[in-house]
Structure formats: structure tokens, C-alpha cells
């Protein structure tokens, strides 16, 4: 009985989540004129995604290290909680913050790539932090202790032993954030004021403005395939991490 309920639930995941992708296939076989995205747009998206991942990891790493070694429950909770605030709310609150920043410092962030970058880092920082945290927490103390006993300073022990050992976690965090950032729609739209145009916004516009489901389907499938590939790589790296 419970097995049947579980299977029905599982079947509905497949039906509701995976089967719709076949509809994309249907629209692709239907044919149409493929609107190829401009090179500069793909480049912008790619650069923004790479930068988001790099900046998030650089900012999150020290905090993740601290949390994994000495963090309290409260600190952990405070870092995780922003995950539950919706992207749109975060984007909107940054919009307000940008107006204040512009007024007092003269730095205009709204409608610029820098503003979008700030937004995406703000959004994905907790993801990077939690992934790094998981990786650093799993590290055994003994290699560091060995390095210390053999005369390495604390900094040396970190740079030569712990940092290299946590690299799989860094790779996993990079791929995760990069992937999310590649498909991002809300931050470029709200903070980039549609001036910073990304792959996600392109798919969005293909559906809502151009009503071109054919091109949208092709782009969506490319994005989905990329995501599958990246997930596979992440899962492989995390598995090798635990061994």
C-alpha cells in the first residue's frame, strides 16, 4: 500500500517534471527559424556566471572555514536563513539599497553589470558557503597536525595542506553557483533593468515577447543539458571527496 503511494508520487515527479521536457522536443520537431543568441549576450552571461562563482567562493571560503571549525549553531542558522528568502525579494531590496548608495556615493549600480553581479553574489553566497562548509567539515585533522608537527606554520599548513584538500568542495561550489547563475533571470531583469542581457533573459523574452516557443525550446534544452552535465560532475567530485 505505502509502496504504491510512493510509486504514484514518484510517477507524478516524472510526469510533472520530466515529461514536460518532451513537449520541448515536440516544439523543436515542429521546426521554425532558430534565433541564435548574439555572441556578446552569451559572453556576458558566461562572464557574469564565472565572476559570480569566483566572487561567491572567495567571499564565502573564510566564513565557511570558520563555521566548519568553530561555528556555533546560531551562526550556522544565520548564514542559512537567507536561502529561504525569495530571489525576487532579494532583488527588490537591493534595488532600494542601490538607490541609497547612488545618492550618497554617486556610484550608479542599477542597470549595470556590476549591479547584477552584486545581486547574484548576494543570492548565491549561501549556496557556496554551505557547499564549502560541507567539504571543509569532512576534512580530517590529522594531515594538518602532521604538517604542524613537521614544522609548518599555521598559514603554511592551511595553504599547503588544507586548501588543496578542500579543492573538490571548491570545484563543487563553483559548478553549482555557475550553473544557477547561467540560468538566472530575475537579477538581470530587476537590477540590470533589462540592459544587462543574459541567456536566461533571452529565453524569457523568446517566450513572453517574441512568442517563439521553437527557439525557446532549443535554448532551454541546451541549458538543461548543461545542467545535467554539471550535476554529474558535481556528484562525481563530491563522491571522490568522501573516499
Amino acid at each position: 500500500m505505502i509502496g504504491k503511494i510512493a510509486l504514484v508520487a514518484f510517477a507524478s515527479v516524472v510526469l510533472l517534471f520530466y515529461v514536460p521536457f518532451l513537449a520541448l522536443g515536440y516544439y523543436i520537431t515542429g521546426g521554425g527559424e532558430l534565433k541564435i543568441p548574439s555572441f556578446s549576450m552569451v559572453a556576458t552571461t558566461f562572464l557574469l556566471a564565472v565572476l559570480t562563482a569566483v566572487v561567491s567562493i572567495a567571499v564565502a571560503y573564510p566564513a565557511a572555514y570558520y563555521l566548519a571549525k568553530w561555528g556555533s549553531e546560531l551562526e550556522f542558522a544565520l548564514v542559512t536563513a537567507p536561502l529561504w528568502v525569495g530571489t525576487l525579494l532579494k532583488a527588490y531590496s537591493l534595488l532600494v539599497l542601490f538607490a541609497i548608495v547612488e545618492r550618497f556615493t554617486g556610484v550608479a549600480l542599477w542597470g549595470t553589470a556590476a549591479g547584477v553581479l552584486v545581486g547574484m553574489v548576494y543570492e548565491y553566497l549561501p549556496y557556496a558557503l554551505l557547499t564549502l562548509y560541507a567539504a571543509i567539515e569532512k576534512l580530517s585533522e590529522s594531515p594538518v597536525n602532521a604538517a604542524r608537527v613537521l614544522g609548518a606554520s599555521r598559514l603554511q599548513a592551511f595553504l599547503r595542506v588544507e586548501l588543496p584538500l578542500s579543492m573538490p568542495g571548491v570545484a563543487a561550489a563553483f559548478i553549482l553557483v555557475f550553473l544557477f547563475a547561467m540560468g538566472e533571470v530575475i537579477m538581470p531583469a530587476v537590477l540590470g533593468a533589462w540592459k544587462v542581457y543574459t541567456f536566461g533573459s533571452y529565453i524569457w523574452d523568446l517566450y513572453f515577447k517574441a512568442r517563439d516557443i521553437f527557439s525557446g525550446s532549443v535554448m532551454s534544452l541546451i541549458l538543461a543539458a548543461l545542467s545535467l552535465l554539471a550535476t554529474y560532475v558535481v556528484v562525481r567530485t563530491i563522491r571522490s571527496l568522501s573516499i
Partner: protein, 253 residues
């Protein structure tokens, strides 16, 4: 270590500055965000007398309630029965899939249904199904680690004493998983309540949810402080979820 602690706390504070500022400004008696005009509740009064906003919040709450209840309940069955890695992997892939791709696929499927059967699912039903499509795998993934806390002996004892499979599920397994159920329910609720992209692709113009309403202002600029009040209102589910979640999960450690 001290430097790292200071750094971490600085980062935590930074994470809360934009949201905190927006909440503070929803009580600001000035239309300009950089001018503090004193404390006021007038933006909330404006929000409360704004029928469309009420309707949108109500729509969001109803959808999120139904979605989170269905997803968490079915998710418990999935997590309890389908423990093998292959099933969890199917759900994990769904969790990390880019939102636009997924939303477009769903919209395309709804178009096909409309073209071939004449049934127009765009609107509340479409939104419900689209939300269920991604929250069900999410609930599965979130609940999976907690199933290990249900001991085999408790389940076997119940079965030997004559409880049916379903009875065991409701009287033994579910109570043990109750804190995880609450935690997952809250995460899914907050997530469904806040989701914009999937809703936008599957709704009809007549069915406006709170994120859709917020977007119609946010995509054009800041707007009036009434929107800050709306956004502050929309934070409530996330805050409640965050506050209760850690307490619920702590019971397992």
C-alpha cells in the same frame, strides 16, 4: 580565529542589510529611500486598502498551502519507500535544474494540452501543478536523510502487533518524522510562496500572486513605499520558516 569570527559576523550582517533596510523603509514617512521622514504606518494602511494586493497575497498563501501539504505528504512516502540512490538522484537532478528551462518546458506542455484537448490549465491549476512539479522532488531530497532515524525494530514491532502497513506509516513512522515534516513543509511553503518564474510561465492574467504583483513594480524600478510594505509582508513566511526550521531539525541530533 578571531579575525575569521569578525569576518563571518561582518558577512552575516551584510547578508541582512538589504532586507533589513527595506523593512525599515516600509515604516519611513517619506517617499524617498534616502530621506528619513519619521515613523509611519501609512504605507501599511495603503497596502491594506489595496484590494489587488490582498487578493494576490491570498492567492499565494492558498497555492503555497496546498502545494506544501501535498508535496510534503507525498514526499514522506517517497523518502520512506524509495531510499535507493537512483530514486534520490532523479529528484536531485530536478532540484538543480535551471528554473527557466523547467518553467518553459512546463508552459510548452500546458500549451500542448490546450491545443490537443482544449483544456486550458493556465491559471491556478497550472500554477499548482508547476509548483508541485519542483517541490515534490525537493521534499523527497530534504526528507531522505531523516528516514534513517526511523528504526527498523519500531516498524517491525508495530507490524508484528498487527498494525497494517498504512497504520504503521501513520502511527509509527510519521510521528518520528514529524519534526522533519514540519521543517520540510515550511521550506516548501516559503519557496512556493516566493517563486516567481514558474508562476509567471503558468499563470493566466486573471490569477495574480504576490510575487507577480511585486515583479510588475520591481521590473520597472523602485515604485512607491507601499511596495516596500508588500515586500515586507512577503518576508513573513521565510522568517517563520527559518525560525521554526532549526528548532525542528535539532530534535534529531
Amino acid at each position: 580565529m578571531r579575525a575569521l569570527r569578525i569576518y563571518t559576523w561582518a558577512l552575516i550582517v551584510t547578508l541582512y542589510v538589504p532586507i533589513g533596510l527595506m523593512v525599515a523603509l516600509s515604516f519611513n514617512n517619506s517617499k524617498l529611500p534616502y530621506v528619513w521622514g519619521g515613523f509611519t504606518l501609512r504605507w501599511y494602511e495603503a497596502l491594506f486598502s489595496w484590494g489587488q494586493a490582498w487578493q494576490a497575497i491570498l492567492n499565494s498563501v492558498v497555492v503555497a498551502l496546498v502545494v506544501s501539504f501535498t508535496a510534503t505528504l507525498l514526499g514522506i512516502f517517497m523518502a520512506y519507500v524509495l531510499r535507493q540512490v537512483k530514486y534520490i538522484a532523479v529528484s536531485q537532478v530536478a532540484v538543480v535544474m535551471p528554473e527557466v528551462s523547467e518553467a518553459l518546458a512546463f508552459a510548452a506542455a500546458l500549451w500542448l494540452v490546450k491545443t490537443y484537448t482544449g483544456v486550458d490549465l493556465f491559471g491556478p491549476v497550472g500554477v499548482f501543478l508547476a509548483h508541485l512539479a519542483y517541490t515534490l522532488p525537493m521534499a523527497h531530497v530534504l526528507l531522505a536523510p531523516y528516514v534513517a532515524y526511523v528504526s527498523r525494530s519500531a516498524v517491525e514491532a508495530a507490524r508484528i502487533l498487527g498494525a497494517s502497513e498504512l497504520r504503521t506509516m501513520f502511527s509509527v513512522v510519521m510521528p518520528i518524522l514529524a519534526p522533519a515534516f514540519v521543517a520540510t513543509f515550511l521550506i516548501v511553503f516559503a519557496n512556493s510562496f516566493d517563486t516567481y518564474i514558474k508562476t509567471a510561465f503558468t499563470t493566466s492574467p486573471g490569477f495574480v500572486t504576490a510575487p507577480i504583483l511585486l515583479w510588475s513594480y520591481a521590473a520597472r524600478g523602485r515604485g512607491d513605499p507601499t511596495i516596500y510594505a508588500l515586500a515586507t509582508f512577503m518576508l513573513i513566511p521565510s522568517l517563520v520558516a527559518a525560525a521554526i526550521y532549526f528548532r525542528a531539525v535539532k530534535r534529531y541530533s
